[in-house]
Amino acid sequence: MSKCMESECNSYVVKCYQCGKCSAGCQISPFMDYLPHQVVRFVQLGDIYVDKILQSKSIWYCAGCQTCFSRCPQQVNLPHLMDLLCERSSKLKKIHPEARKILAFHKSFLNGVNRFGRSFELGLVGEFKLRTFNLFQDLLLAPAMIFKGKICFLPAKIKNLALVKVLFKKS
């Protein structure tokens, strides 16, 4: 990990005393390969352990629901730690195979924002399907959504797109 990000991650985990409360209340934990308190522990241990976490499913499956952070007796901001680890995992291309569709979703979503300034659902769904080769998922819902006027066919492009683009470039 880069030094700066490593020290930022560490600043989040130093206070954890491994009580396990975060894992006890995490609804997503059944889908995770490492429990939330283990993620914290591995970051505390550093080195090869961090590498394991960057390749884990857990960081991507975390829903960012803020429950663990709200309950943690040591105010460890676990969802934000997960965000930082995801950002890192994505930059270093260490993504867990089962998490690829989650990243594909985020990328498709943000691509729309980069192009139009707002999310464009139809484009998002299309791009997501192409990225994941998952052409048939939810196809049955589509006609009903169109009928109910829930799908816009044209993206709404904002006027000041340049400002948004600058943010994308800088990052």
């Binding site: 829903a63 979503f109 943000l110 707002r118 939810d138 009903a144 943010l167």
Partner: protein, 277 residues
């Protein structure tokens, strides 16, 4: 006390209300008109980045929200109304990180603030057992919201004041799986299934929410969930603004409730009775 000096609110509809949640957006517009609350849509607003931006790019996530806050300031407004719980949460977090003074209000907050006025205008009340569902983003994290994030009561209190009955249940702030709706529906089926089941076990006949992402999972994905769990039966999911709108006399057919996937029953209208006093 009726809130007198009504200042206009900067309105941040967000991407959902602009497309998939057009039903939510309609009910908000009609309700605000009746309550004479002026909404000024943030000019040329951009997406707040939702859960995607902060997952893979912190700098972008905060920057997108900041653009909207700047825009709001340019319009000379100091309060942003963000009906989508996900946008609301992003704004709250960024404002707190920046130490900005702009106030951010959610739909349940707004309803509760204008309750006296709603009471005066109230014509009907719903006679069904209501489960108020907050989801994860309206009250968490605790460090920022400083309110009871395990058992929030804002919606229940408003509904009680309006003479309606809500159930007590432990799943009101559980996560519905939110952004996994597209990328990993299995997670949603599981989490949302638990929420629907618990609401029904506690006797709820209808669920009320104020988050368009939760609505997608609770409503659009419901039939699929029922197929997988034979102990769950159909239950309509209304937006809080839709329910209040009907209560203050907006005809049901003016709202877009028929755009929901789970239709309210044919006798739904009969479940409302006239309020006196």
């Amino acid at each position: 006390m009726v809130v007198k000096d009504k200042k206009a609110l900067a309105y941040f509809p967000g991407c959902s209300l602009h497309s998939t949640a057009n039903d939510f957006s309609k009910s908000i517009k009609l309700l605000m008109e009746i309550l004479e609350i002026e909404l000024k849509e943030i000019e040329d607003w951009c997406c707040c980045g939702a859960s995607s931006a902060h997952r893979i790019n912190q700098h972008l996530a905060n920057g997108l929200v900041k653009l909207n806050i700047d825009q709001c300031k340019k319009m000379g407004l100091d309060t942003i109304f963000a009906p989508c719980a996900a946008c609301f949460n992003r704004f709250k977090v960024v404002v707190s990180e920046l130490g900005d003074t702009t106030k951010i209000v959610s739909l349940p907050d707004l309803i509760s603030k204008h309750l006296e006025e709603i009471k005066i205008k109230q014509k009907l009340k719903l006679n069904m057992k209501i489960a108020c569902y907050y989801g994860c983003l309206l009250n968490k994290p605790h460090s920022i919201f400083k309110q009871d994030c395990e058992n929030p009561m804002t919606m229940e209190q408003s509904l009680t004041e309006l003479g309606m009955e809500s159930i007590e249940w432990p799943f009101k702030t559980e996560c519905c799986g939110a952004s996994f709706s597209l990328s990993n529906p299995e997670v949603v089926y599981q989490l949302t299934g638990e929420i629907l089941r618990k609401a029904q076990q506690r006797g709820a006949e209808i669920i009320v929410t104020s988050c368009p992402l939760c609505h997608v999972n609770l409503d659009m994905r419901q039939k699929e969930i029922i197929k997988r769990n034979n102990d769950i039966t159909e239950i309509p999911v209304l937006y809080l603004s839709e329910l209040i709108a009907i209560c203050v006399g907006i005809p049901i057919d003016k709202l877009k409730i028929d755009a929901h996937f789970i239709q309210v029953s044919k006798t739904f209208e009969e479940k409302f009775t006239v309020c006196h006093g």
